[in-house]
Structures are given as C-alpha cells and as structure tokens.
C-alpha cells in the first residue's frame, strides 16, 4: 500500500510537523511558557497562595508534573502473574499497569484507541486480553491491537496505528515509575541520592522482599495535593497538630515519638534533589522503633506467640512490625510513612485523594504481617484526621486573596547546613524540604515539556512508511546530484 503514496496524499499529509498531534510519532509540548510567572510565585522562602488555589495552574500541573515528569505508578508485586493488572492514575489519565505474557511490566493508557472508551472498569484483575465493551476491539496484554470486528470497513486503518497508547515505565527494584515525557532524564538521575534511601528501605525487609497489598485505604481531603507534601517532612507539626495522638500515647503510658520537644529532637532531615527529601527519626529513638509501640489490638497475643517460637527474635524482626522511622518522600507522589506507602492523587486544585498502600514483609514469621495491619490502622484513626483538618483549614485560609504569601523560611540561615550541591541538612523544625520541592516545582512548571505517546508498530503505519519512502527518495536524489 505505502508504495503508491506521495507527499501530496491528502490522507497522510507528509508535511505535518512532528509537533502535529495527528502524527503517530508526534512530540507535543503543551501549554504556555510560565517562566516569568513561576519566578514571581516561588521566591526563596515564600510561596504565593495561587500555587495552591489556582485551577489553571492545577491543570498545567496535571500535564507537566503528573505526566511529563517521573511519577510513581505502582509496585511490581501488585501484578505478580501474567495478565494481572491494576488500574492506576497519572494525573487525570487512567493507566492499566499490567504484566505481559513475557513477564514485562507495561503502563497502558486505559483508553480505547478507537473512540476513547476506558477498557477496564475494575481496580484490579487478571485478563487474557483487554476488550473494549463498546465496539469489541481487543488488545493484547502488551497493547497490540489483536482483533477488531469488520476490519475491512476501514480504508485508513493503517494510517494511524491502532495499538494502545502507553507511557514509558521503568522499575527500580520493584517500584514502577512512569512518564509521558518524550525525552525524560534517566530514572537513576531523577532519583539521585533518594535512591540510596529507597534501597535502604527495601533492604530492611528480609530477603529484600516487599509485597504491596492491592487495596489502598482511600481518603480524600478538600485541599491542594501539595498540602500533603508540605506536611510529609514537617517535623514540628507533629507536636501541635497531633497533640491528641500524643496525649493518647501518654494515656497508654507510651510516649509517641511525635510528642517529643521538636526544639531538642536529634532527628534530622535532608533534601535529596529533584524535590525529594527524607526525615530520619532514628537518632531520636535510641531504643529502636519497637520501643515506641503502643498497646494495639492483638499485640499481646502476637507478641506472646512470637516469643513462644523460641530462639532469639532479632530486634530487626520486632522493629519490622512498627514503621522504620525514616520518612522518605519522592516527589511528586511517593511518600513512605510507617509501613505504608502513600500516593497522593490530585483531584482538583482544592481536592486530593490519598491512597495508603500497606507493605508486607513476606520472609518473616506470620505474626509480623498480622501486626503490621493493625499498626497502621492506629494512625489512620487517631492521626490522619487531624492532618486533613489542618490541610483543609490552610486551604480555607488561603482564600484570602489579599494575603498573598505563605512563609516557608524556617531554618533558612538559621540552623540549616547547605552543602556544595545545594542540598540542605536541617533539624526537625526546618522547612528546607518545602523550599526544596518548590524549587523543583518551579523548574518543571516553567516551560512546556515535550511529551509523546508510546505505541507498538508506529513504524508500520501508513504515515510512517510514507515518511520513510520520502526520506529515502530525498537521499537518492541527493546522491544523484553528487
């Protein structure tokens, strides 16, 4: 077919620029240049309220930060067998994270390449293929179009490839990150020093074996997604916002670690580049995480049963039941707290859905995982609600348009130590992590970022074949001239 085509063929229109989204291999950078605007909004130690409240900025975030930047998509353990899939989101886009017959992980766009129907309605499942319920198009697990009814009713079927769109996915030791960026930096570069902390987190589990439970606790709050980000490395709020949780701990005669005086806490925070940061609470708890464990449902029984197993139960095993007291935050949507990984999902400028996934450590006595389930329910009940209350109150407060600036200066020139790479080490009260990710937000938001949809068999499309022919004949003509 392709042999008869030339550049005047109105169907293929070979003059299309690469940025024309009708091209199968289109690379499109969308939206306005915001360089001047973000320069105005993000200062060294104050942030403009619009960063949290403006719906137009939110829509651009969904394109540039949740789309054209590496985002956490899911964990490989959620899809252990071929055909297993989970439905995820990257900004507003639905992603089918699936394991193919070859065992590869793919991030397919949950959007039929025909008229746009979502192929999968379930949150998770196992499939042999994805069949569109609307017109019966069927796609293989790797996104190839397998069959479509009455195929001979198409004259232009191969002008555009009809295989499913995909995002680029790369795993780091089971953690799957994805992006639509046409030319993303390597995931290693993106993670930078945060990778070492992620590795340490993984290696804490015996056999480095982590299993993420598929069903997260989903809870929403009426405030911007970045409230969760501001909070994640904010050590000082724990004393005040979580006063109730701390008092509860005192009633149970266990000091929660949150209750300690932040001014004298030896806990330490580090910024890690690209907006990532970590708060290491371990220096503040010399007796280890297990020593902070409150009486919890089933604890007495499981503790007794673990001791009955005899032998020396290493401290690491006990500590596995509580969190590891290292809060690692990988921008923009992967937060490690306790035994959970938390994935903030922006819904609108003033609404966010938080997904709390529980991580299991499989190569341990059964009691450990049973206890882990009960541990995280504790803070969900007595801690998270008070966090959400603060997020919503800040969002309400930021409706005062005349009070334009949010102060994030704590620690700057007052305790923070900044190294030659610009990375900061601060005490628990420092707001260096907020200033740090805001600079990354500014960098990413400043300019349109070229994105592309990956798709199988793009080179087989009528357009691309014609492009190839055109290039070949141009090369031949050039050779003739010589």
């Amino acid at each position: 077919m392709g042999e008869n085509m030339n550049k005047n063929d109105p169907e293929t229109n070979l003059e299309r620029d690469i940025s024309d989204s009708l091209r199968p291999d289109a690379v499109v950078a969308r939206g306005p240049d915001l360089t001047d605007e973000v320069e105005h909004l993000i200062r060294k130690d104050v942030v403009h309220r619009r960063v949290y409240t403006d719906p137009d900025l939110f829509n651009i975030e969904m394109d540039r930060i949740f789309g054209a930047t590496w985002c956490f998509i899911g964990h490989e353990s959620e899809v252990p067998e071929a055909g297993d899939f989970v439905r995820k989101r990257l900004g507003k886009r639905q992603i089918i994270l699936v394991r193919t017959r070859k065992g590869e992980i793919r991030g397919l766009l949950n959007r039929c390449s025909h008229r746009g129907t979502t192929l999968v309605g379930e949150e998770e499942g196992c499939a042999k293929r994805f069949t569109c319920p609307y017109h019966g198009w069927a796609f293989d697990l790797d996104g190839h179009l397998q069959s479509l009814p009455v195929a001979d009713s198409y004259s232009k079927l191969y002008e555009r490839p009809f295989d499913l769109g995909q995002i680029k996915v790369v795993s780091h030791r089971g953690f799957v990150f994805g992006t639509l960026a046409a030319d993303p930096m390597s995931l290693d570069d993106w993670l930078g020093p945060a990778k070492l902390w992620l590795d340490e987190h993984i290696d804490r589990h015996p056999g480095a074996s982590i299993r993420v439970l598929k069903a997260p606790i989903k809870q929403s709050y009426k405030a911007n997604w970045k409230m969760a980000w501001d909070n994640a490395a904010d050590g000082i709020h724990a004393t005040f916002a979580h006063r109730s949780y701390n008092l509860l701990g005192k009633e149970a005669e266990t000091d929660t670690i949150l209750s300690r005086n932040p001014a004298v806490s030896p806990m330490v925070g580090y910024t890690l580049g690209h907006g990532h940061c970590v708060v290491d609470q371990r220096p503040g708890i010399p007796d280890g995480p297990w020593s902070t464990m409150r009486p919890l449902p089933t604890r007495e029984d499981l503790e007794a049963s673990l001791k009955e197993r005899g032998g020396d139960i290493p401290r690491e095993t006990w500590d596995l039941m509580t969190g590891n007291m290292v809060n690692l935050n990988i921008f923009p949507n992967l937060i490690f707290v306790g035994n959970q990984i938390v994935v903030p999902e922006p819904i609108s400028a003033d609404e966010t859905l938080m997904n709390y996934y529980l991580v299991m450590a499989d190569e341990t006595p059964e009691e450990v995982n049973l206890m882990r389930m009960r541990v995280d329910e504790d803070f969900m009940s007595f801690g998270i609600p008070d966090d959400f209350e603060m997020f919503e109150r800040v969002q309400e407060g930021l409706q005062t348009i005349e009070e334009e600036w949010v102060d994030v200066s704590r620690g700057d020139d007052a305790g923070d130590v900044v190294d030659e790479y610009g990375l900061a080490t601060g005490d628990l009260a420092s707001e260096a992590p907020i200033r740090h990710y805001m600079q990354e937000w500014k960098r990413i938001m400043a300019k349109p970022i070229p994105t592309t949809i990956r798709r199988a068999r793009i080179e087989d499309s009528k357009f691309m074949k014609a492009q190839k022919l055109k290039a070949e004949s141009a090369a031949a003509a050039a050779a003739d001239v010589k």
């Binding site: 709050y221 049963s305 389930m373 009940s381």
Partner: protein, 190 residues
C-alpha cells in the same frame, strides 16, 4: 493452659469468625425469629441514639470485654490478609471514646451533628451459644461538621450477648461501600 486458643491461633480464630459472620448473611434463612429481632432492634436503635447524642461512656458500657469492632475496606476483605479501616478491641474502643472528648482532636471539634437511621433489623440465635445472637441491620448516617455534610450508608452485623443486665455488644462489623471508592476521613465513626 486452657483449651482456649492462645496467641497467634487466637488472633486467627477471631479473624476467621468475623469473616464467617459476614458469610452467614448469604445462608441465613429469611424466616427469622420475629420476637428476637424486635428485642435486638431496640438495642441497636438505642446504640445509635447514644452515639448520636454523644453519650459515649454509656455506649462503651454496652460492650463486652471480648469486644471486636471491624470496618473492612471492602466486603470481600479478610482481616488476616487485608488492611482495614478499623479493627478494634475493648481497649482501643476506650481510646476512641477518650478522643471523642479530647478538645485537641482538631478533626472532631467543633463537635459534629450526627443522625443514624437503623432499619431492616434481622436476628438469629447462634447455634453454638446459649447467650449470643447474630443480627444485621441497614444503617444510614448523616454527619455534619463545620458546614460539610457526609452521608454514609452501610450494613451492620452485630453479635449481641444476653446477660442479666440486658444485651451486651460483643462484635460489630460495618460494611460501607463508599469506603472502597474513597471518601473524607471517618475519624468520627463509631
């Protein structure tokens, strides 16, 4: 040592039994003991009123020592394999009651207005027990706080124990479909 399950097996036995209470709904006969249901309904309605009116200490006194309050994320979930929203014993229920009165529980002050509507109460004697019965009911909860309204519907499954002082609550399971979809926090639920 007694014959009672201990340690790990005690925990697993409780979890299996909670799941069995949910499964019981699928096989329970439609023809039920109307007199028993009426008696149990009075207790469930009374429980709802005490909670609506913030009489948490009186409500707490209804609970048996071997209390279990379970709110799974999905009605197919198992407490030994899935995280839940709530899996409380008697002591943690006490903590929830404590927090209801705590003026630094920022998510709970100012206090909410809540109305629980209980309907469709059914009850059956438990064959293996001379004192305990199992009951189910539908519940709709309307919650208002700081101008925001949350409506939550669900199915409750109670185990109640007949004592000389009236009915005790031994277990309560709440199956609320909206939790799976994601909703505002339920830090106020009891």
């Amino acid at each position: 040592m007694t014959d009672q399950p201990f340690g790990l097996s005690k925990t697993l036995a409780l979890y299996e039994s909670l799941v069995a209470d949910v499964a019981f709904l699928d096989t329970a006969p439609v023809v039920f003991d109307g007199a028993l249901a009426a008696e149990v309904a009075a207790t469930l309605i009374g429980e709802a009123r005490l909670l609506d009116r913030r009489q948490f200490d009186t409500w707490y006194d209804l609970w048996a020592e071997d209390a279990a309050f379970w709110m799974p994320l999905h009605q197919s979930h198992h407490p030994a394999r899935d995280q839940g929203l709530i899996m409380d014993d008697h002591r943690r229920l006490r903590e929830r009651v404590w927090r209801m009165h705590d003026t630094s529980a920022w998510a709970l002050v100012p206090y909410a207005q809540i109305v629980r509507m209980i309907g469709g109460v059914e009850a059956w004697p438990l064959p293996q027990s001379s004192t305990d019965v199992i009951a189910t009911s539908a519940i709709t909860i309307t919650h208002e706080r700081t101008g925001k309204v949350t409506v939550l519907a669900g199915r409750q499954i109670h185990r109640l124990r007949r004592t000389d002082d009236g009915w005790q609550i031994v277990r309560k399971i709440m199956l609320c479909p909206a939790i799976s979809a994601g909703m505002p926090h339920l830090g106020w639920i009891l």
